[in-house]
């Protein structure tokens, strides 16, 4: 009844898995960056966009935060070819993850933007700052300080979410674990190892974000 762990067949595959982790990382970083752009535009639309733009942003958020991400990616993967847009698995998953992240980050950044005091903005304006200068010196630092913890969480969820890409044939960390599993059948060892690599990747990412948050934005975040 006792299972004995045998890592012998699995350890030579570690470099192969680590390269897969790099692809996961790539996917999460790019989707996060794209999601931030959508999120900033969305947050501004929500708060300053007037009736219709604000509504549009709200619908977007509702749609992308209330349907499973897997369903969203399936939709992109199978619906877009119908209108003549053929995407490889990687860009299809990236697009789905980006749109999804955009929904969550709109909400996160909106909360941050709403917490900027009007008087602080008035002060910036009367001191002679342009809109762009106010954004750069006052609004963004304030937002990042406030939303850093929520943003870090979102990033971790996205890193773990990249494992969905395996379903579409992207050979990232989970996909490669599947591959090794189908030739060695040492499932427990393989997925223990894979889980361990995910932990390392997310820990590295959170520590990095926490460092940036603490020293660049004075966010109150714990490092490890």
């Amino acid at each position: 009844m006792h299972y004995t762990l045998h890592f012998g067949q699995v350890t030579p595959e570690i470099p192969y898995l680590l390269w897969g982790a790099l692809i996961s990382l790539e996917l999460s970083v790019m989707a996060f960056a794209g999601g931030m752009v959508i999120g900033m535009v969305g947050a501004i639309m929500r708060l300053r966009g007037g009736r219709w733009l604000s509504r549009l942003a709200r619908w977007y958020v509702t749609f992308f935060t209330n349907t499973p991400q897997l369903v969203q990616i399936y939709f992109i993967f199978f619906a877009l070819p119908e209108v003549g847009i053929l995407l490889d698995p990687f860009p299809a998953v990236l697009l789905g993850m980006t749109l999804n992240a955009g929904g969550y980050l709109t909400e996160i950044l909106r909360a941050g933007l709403a917490s900027v005091h009007q008087q602080e903005l008035d002060a910036a304006e009367t001191l002679g700052m342009s809109h762009l200068q106010t954004l750069r010196y006052v609004i963004l630092p304030h937002i990042f300080k406030v939303v850093m913890p929520a943003m870090t969480n979102q990033y971790i969820l996205m890193t773990l979410g990249t494992s969905m890409a395996a379903i579409f044939g992207v050979e990232e960390l989970t996909g490669r674990a599947f591959n090794i599993n189908s030739t060695t059948f040492r499932s427990i060892e393989i997925f223990l190892l894979t889980g361990g690599i995910y932990v390392l990747v997310t820990l590295a990412a959170t520590s990095l974000l926490a460092l940036v948050g603490r020293y660049a934005f004075r966010a109150r975040v714990r490092i490890l």
């Binding site: 602080e120 008035d122 002060a123 001191l127 002679g128 200068q133 010196y137 300080k145």
Partner: protein, 247 residues
């Protein structure tokens, strides 16, 4: 002509008329205070003067030049001559005290960094915060924050300083330290337009006091006139009421 000259100024929020023909002037180096009931439009007047809100009629002249609030260059020229401090949340939370004071002169107005910093240190010394240069606003008391805000306003070397109830968000024991700072400045020959509910302070520091109600200046005169010998019933009423509650 006066340094700041306001004639028939009007402004509204939507359909709510808030300023309804303001006439007011401030001379060079003069301290003028605005008093009046809550909602009478005092803050709105300061917002219009600083260009945070557009007037819908009337004229503001600053240092001899009429300010065109829909013209960016004209507005910028006006803002170069004035500075304003609000009730609270003046400071940028992500910058140290020193940076708060120097950010506008150095990065916006492109003045010489070393000179600006020297001036900032001197001003912060004067408001009693020479030892807090590298501290962040959330590590300061409300009164200390307001003194930094005043130092920041002064670092711009304005010709007129506008103060909107700078002590009303403070604990009573913090009020006097800020008022003392302002008193010190009043001796400096800088013009000030002060909105305040601190009547004894207003009486002490002002050259003239304007009583505002319903979006108009109802009466303007020396502190003695306004407090001891008001010329209109409304002023008498307001001053009587406010001194009874012990301000």
């Amino acid at each position: 002509m006066s340094f700041l000259d306001i004639h028939d100024l009007g402004a509204r929020y939507g359909s709510l008329r808030v300023l309804d023909g303001i006439d007011l002037s401030v001379e060079q180096g003069e301290v003028v205070s605005l008093i009046g009931p809550s909602g009478s439009g005092k803050s709105t007047l300061l917002k219009v003067i600083t260009g945070l809100m557009k007037p819908d009629r009337g004229r503001v002249t600053l240092a001899g030049a009429a300010v065109d609030y829909s013209n960016r260059k004209s507005l910028k020229a006006a803002r170069d001559r004035l500075a304003i401090v609000f009730q609270q949340y003046n400071l940028f939370g992500n910058m140290t005290v020193l940076r708060n004071v120097t950010v506008a002169p150095t990065t916006i107005k492109k003045r010489n960094r070393r000179q600006v910093e020297e001036k900032a240190r001197e001003l912060l010394d004067r408001v009693g915060l020479g030892d807090k240069l590298h501290v962040y606003p959330d590590q300061l008391s409300g009164g200390q924050q307001q003194r930094v805000a005043i130092a920041r306003a002064l670092c711009l070397e304005p010709e007129i300083l506008l103060l909107d109830e700078v002590t009303s968000a403070l604990d009573p024991e913090r009020v006097s330290e800020v008022l003392d700072t302002i008193r010190l400045l009043a001796k400096d020959n800088i013009a000030m337009l002060i909105v305040s509910h601190e009547m004894s302070f207003v009486r002490d520091v002002s050259h003239r006091i304007a009583f505002m109600a319903d979006g108009r200046v109802q009466e303007i005169g020396s502190p003695e006139q306004i407090f001891d010998n008001p010329q209109t019933d409304r002023t008498r009423d307001f001053v009587g009421r406010i001194s009874r509650v012990g301000h």
